[in-house]
């Protein structure tokens, strides 16, 4: 405990981006975010639109358990989606910031929200699962154009169908 205390006492808090190597890494991470964010934003936009529709449908059909799940998540999704859009607009329109403070802020925000609304959509689906909700209430990325999931699934299904055999070689 004493050793840990002494180590912490004399350690230097060096969380600022001061070294040129740190700045290069930070810029690279923000550039990566910039290349991906339009796709993720577009996919999330379709999810949020579908979420509003489902929310209205649940109200009309008086599905109380479904409604409770949506009420928990709607505001979170809306807020995160708005923040994501603002950040994506900033880096795509103005480019990667060169000023250290601005770069730090964008880096922290982009790492925090790099998954978009996906985490909240997952939580919503878990809640719907618990409530035995109908499949139509689920927010499925495959149905709303999440290209990555679609590609992964299609690649998994792409297999040679012809059996491993050589012709003219009869069975035993």
């Amino acid at each position: 405990v004493i050793l840990l205390f002494v180590t912490l006492l004399f350690s230097t808090a060096n969380a600022d981006l001061t070294e040129s190597k740190d700045l290069a890494i930070a810029s690279a991470l923000v550039r990566e975010f910039r290349s991906e964010c339009p796709h993720i934003y577009n996919s999330d936009r379709l999810q949020t639109e579908r979420m509003y529709k489902n929310f209205e449908k649940a109200k009309a059909e008086d599905e109380r358990e479904v409604l409770a799940c949506y009420q928990q998540q709607v505001s979170q999704v809306k807020a995160v989606h708005f923040l994501y859009k603002r950040l994506c607009d900033e880096v795509t329109i103005h480019g990667v910031p060169t000023e250290v403070n601005a770069l730090s802020r964008v880096l922290v925000m982009s790492r925090k929200h790099r998954r978009g609304v996906r985490t909240y959509v997952g939580q919503l689906n878990d809640c719907l699962k618990e409530a035995w909700a109908h499949e139509s209430y689920y927010l499925d990325y495959k149905k709303t154009g999440d290209e990555s999931s679609l590609l992964a699934e299609r690649l998994r299904l792409l297999k040679p169908r012809v059996p491993f055999k050589a012709n003219r070689y009869d069975y035993r």
Binding site: H39, E147, L151, L158, V162, P163, F164, A166, N167, R172
Partner: protein, 387 residues
Amino acid sequence: MNRISRIVVLLIILFVAKAGWGKVFSGEVGLGSHYESNVFYLDETDHGDLVMSVKPKVKVHTKPAMFRLKVDFLGEYLKYLNFPEMDTMLYQGQLGVTINEHRQLELNIYGGGELKADPALYKEQERILHQEINGGGELKWRASDISTFFINGTYKMDTFADEERKYLNNYEVYSEVGYDYKFLPETSIYWAAGYGLQTYPEGFYYGKTSPNRKSDSSILAFMGGIRGRLSDKTKLDTKGGLLFRTYAKDSSFAEPVFNLRFEEQVTPRDHLSVGYNYEVEDSYFTNYMLIQEMFLGYGRILGDQVLLLTRLSYAYLSYSKPIRREDQKIITLFHLEYSINPNLRMITFVESEVLSSDSYNTELGTIRDPSVNYEYVKTGVSFSYLF
């Protein structure tokens, strides 16, 4: 009723079912035409032919609840223009029931059938048809949010239509007990132990009269693996362990086996998948075959409406005693899909296979070398309508 009438009746049933049972019912109908460069898979003069195909697909999945029903059906009719002996009507159907008790206990029971058709062995001979009937069940007990115990059992029966090949009819039972532990939110590690039997009731070799069931085998396996996400962009599905496949006569297998598969999202529109399989299966040519397969897959979305999928694989198959053979195969698949509208898509494809085969001739006085090689290319276009 001929084949065409059957397809027409099936399509009418599909549309009527969709109209009346829309919420749980979905389907797809594919119509296409392709060219096969070597329909008999021969090593000599190639025999190419134009093939027309119809593929209906039906899915009925009821609402997730304590009791859930799932029915899947896939049919395929192939009409060859010059070689009618290769015409085929295949199907694959599966019925499953899930009973879920407060999310802690889950029981899945399923059963199904599939009509398989191997290519004919010689020209002017019909395809070799065999029907697989399968069934099984799985019981899961979720001890906590991260721990699950499972026990499952499967049954499989393969029956050949041709009287001459009845000696290949067989059935297999396999049961497994295991434990799954989720050590990350989307990643789990699991262990399982299984035992099974495969029996050929008329299992003497073709042409021999003594029914001594030489091909019967037992399976004992101790497996483990990790499946799930390694990071935001990387997925892993791996399985490995020790397999004992013991035969009554000749070679048996007692060695490690494994499957490895990595998936990497390069960008949201590019996906890469690589894998290496090292596994053992029972073979209708000899006791067992060891399959080593390496593959590389790549998928990309171009614009908003085009999907490109490619896969390149190399497989090395080593057949055990008593009829030794070594096969090497290179398979390439290239698919390009264009979505005309949300319900209609056009698929163009090119698939090729190159086989190089070496066999060990163990019988004295045999004249013909049974080794064969072939090259095969299939290319065509199809339209698929989703409803």
